[in-house]
Symmetry: C2
Subunit: 205 residues, 2 copies
DNA sequence: ACCTGAACACCGTTCAAGT
DNA sequence: ACCTGAACACCGTTCAAGT
């Protein structure tokens, strides 16, 4: 331990600069500060040029940040379903919507990066495509279960999933830009009200 | 005319620099180019500092651009309703959704500025608040008519409007970042499918 | 009044060099 | 291999000056 401490200033490299940079980036966005390549490298205590050794460019660093975000989002969605294990399909969809919106509201900067133009107009990051697909699949599986059980109308699933996703994403986005204002503690009931007509429309007659 | 032409280079001011700047900004975003203060002034042929004579800062210029966008959006929504004059409430809501999404898809840069963080986290622009309120009111009026006619369930209107808006905005946003891919000619039928469950859920039993 | 020039404090990125 | 220094081409914004 003392040896390592002594070593600290003898060398300029970090051991695991790559992870240190992502961690610093997460800190920056957690504080709602401007996420720049120069700011991140400053925090790690490294020349800003060093970033290019590990990431092709700023977008690639953002992709690494977004990847973490998607993993957290997936866990949140799965947890929500696990907590509503024996609930009917309608309640499970509600739980998904609440978890989705809560993630966006609790990690606004993260959410913006994940669904911003920069990453989504860049074809390089297949990991992100995979993770988005996983999120899609979680919703799709619920819709399928609802249809199978006879509780949901039988319609093309793809469009139902996109409708649900649009609703959740739209509500989250409008909340993040403050066009819709909700107190944090009231998010869950509010989301339930918002998705209620959609879920009612999902019900088989 | 020749007198005016001769005058052109004798003076540096533009007569109506303010409008010229907004027009240039609209050109820039129409071409999907980066909208910067310096680029806009370059196009008008004026020193970039001259912008500050007419706009407090870049955000104020963006607000002027957004204002135009909201006016176009309002016209599009009203036209859609006018074209579905005697249609039942469900069809009128569908028409609204189609018009809304079509606007976003046909004016992506405009739409992003209107619903981006920059303007929405800035309290200075009351015109924009008014215009957003007008859009809200258009939707609200339709929902009210649907409820009044007995075709829609009687629920708190505010939440129904936000649900509708979330759905339209979410679909538009996901399409703009290409998470949802639709050919331009198929947008209308696609939107109808997306809003179908929501509208079905709106129906009184 | 209205516009400009030079300067400041930031960006991301490139090139050539240091250890 | 890994990191740095100096430089480039951009930003928005401020200050003091020009007509």
């Amino acid at each position: 331990m003392p040896t390592r401490a002594r070593k600290k200033r003898e060398t300029y490299h970090h051991g695991d600069l790559s992870n240190a940079l992502v961690a610093a980036a997460l800190e920056v966005i957690a504080k709602e500060e401007q996420l720049t390549l120069r700011e991140v490298s400053r925090r790690v205590g490294v020349n800003h040029r060093a970033v290019y050794r590990h990431f092709a460019d700023l977008t690639a660093l953002l992709a690494a940040v977004a990847e973490q975000g998607y993993r957290q989002l997936l866990v949140a969605l799965e947890d929500a379903l696990a907590s509503a294990k024996k609930a009917p399909p309608e309640k499970r969809m509600e739980a998904l919507a609440c978890a989705y919106v809560a993630f966006a509201i609790d990690h606004p900067a993260h959410y913006r990066i994940m669904f911003g133009r920069r990453l989504n107009e860049d074809g390089r990051f297949n990991v992100l495509e995979d993770l988005v697909l996983k999120a899609f699949t979680i919703i799709d599986t619920e819709v399928a279960a609802g249809i199978e059980s006879g509780k949901f109308v039988s319609r093309p699933r793809r469009e139902l999933v996109f409708a649900f996703w649009s609703l959740a994403h739209g509500f989250a986005s409008l909340t993040l830009v403050r066009r819709i204002k909700v107190k944090r503690v009231l998010v869950d009931p509010y989301v339930r009200q918002i998705v209620a007509p959609f879920i009612a429309g999902l019900r088989a007659l």
